[in-house]
Amino acid sequence: MNRRRLLTALAGLGLTGGSLLAVSQGLPGGSDGLSVRVETVDAAGSEAGQLSLPVRGQPVTVVDLFATWCAPCSEQMEALGAVHREYGDRAAFVSVTNERVGGTLTRADIREWWQRHDGNWTVGLDPESDLMAALGADGLPYLAVVDRSGTVHWEHAGLVEAATLRDRLDRHLEA
């Protein structure tokens, strides 16, 4: 999907002009797809550092946007964990919160949330909401399936069942 088509698709989700502007800013000029760097957190299955999305060397990256205050995001972790156990060797999984660390929220709080929800893959920070803007996410949880070129093949706001995510992954892993 080229950039114009991506923007059109996002517009179809009912985003406002303001959100579209943010989306166009989030995608680097001349790029054809998602390209965002996030800081990763030291947590179960995750090392501290930097990570470019989509994850290099993987055919598909599952991007999960969450927040520690978001109850449905907690619920989403069960399905994500199940799918990760099955597909973790063929697809990259990255969960990212746009909460800014500081004040009453520390990296240790995020690590603890992650552990409490049995997270076992990369977890990252998006304090300036670049990833949220690039995906045009207007709610949480938000899931996206992105291929190696950054093309977003599927995205969904709200809870997703494991079967739906499996189906979406199968389509792109077989393609």
Partner: protein, 221 residues
């Protein structure tokens, strides 16, 4: 162009524009930010928008046990309108505001900005509920710059939030839920220290980075 670069360039252009022009805010001396790119005037909008003065409203801040006269706040402020039982738009609005608060605390300008999220559900959003909600949302309630505002009654919420701020809200009774919810508009306002609106963000997911950059321009204006 990378987004950050874009914002820096935009900020620089803004500053250059001000330096070359005796009146700030592209012709409006009451505001620092220039008029947003749009096809209508602020006076055509139901809510206070760019260059307009905040309504002369005083609301209780139940956690601080005081009242806040919005026009008398002597520093830039961010306002948004929400109810705490909301599952979709409101937590995103509050979270965006909270991210700006954390930026302010991390960068040492926490005392130079005020946050006034205002509930339109005073029936359920009492002091205890607002405190719990703030803690859940990781708001730093002890920082002294964040005050939840609560109109004293349902009628007062309609008068202030609905009529004076132009944020429509209507009770709904979703199937399968044993409580009422609201269909409502999303509005976040950046107001300068003189009480004039610099920006009205209409997005359901306002970008904290844009708000932080706008706030910085207003603080330095």
């Amino acid at each position: 162009m990378r987004r950050r670069t874009y914002l820096q360039v935009a900020a620089t252009l803004g500053a250059a524009g001000l330096a070359g022009c005796s009146a700030s805010g592209a012709g409006n001396p009451d505001v620092v930010l220039s008029e947003p790119d749009r096809e209508f005037d602020s006076s055509d909008l139901p809510y206070p928008a760019w260059g307009e003065r905040l309504p002369d409203v005083t609301l209780p801040a139940p956690l601080a046990d005081r009242e806040v006269a919005l026009r008398s706040v002597d520093r830039p402020q961010l306002l948004t309108f929400f109810y705490s039982h909301c599952n979709s738009v409101c937590p995103v609005l509050i979270s965006a505001l909270r991210n700006v608060q954390t930026h302010a605390l991390n960068e040492g300008y926490g005392d130079e900005v005020a946050f006034h999220p205002t509930t339109f559900d005073p029936e359920r959003d009492d002091a205890d509920r607002l405190r719990t909600y703030g803690e859940e949302m990781n708001v730093d309630l002890a920082a002294g710059n964040w005050r939840f505002l609560r109109p004293a009654s349902i009628g007062r919420a309609e008068e202030v939030v609905g009529e004076q701020f132009g944020v429509s809200f209507e009770r709904t009774h979703p199937e399968g839920m044993d409580m009422y919810m609201f269909a409502h508009a999303a509005l976040t306002l950046l107001v300068n220290a003189d009480g004039y609106v610099e920006r009205a963000y209409r997005e359901k997911q306002p970008d904290p980075e844009t708000m932080t950059a706008d706030l910085e321009t207003v603080r330095n204006g």
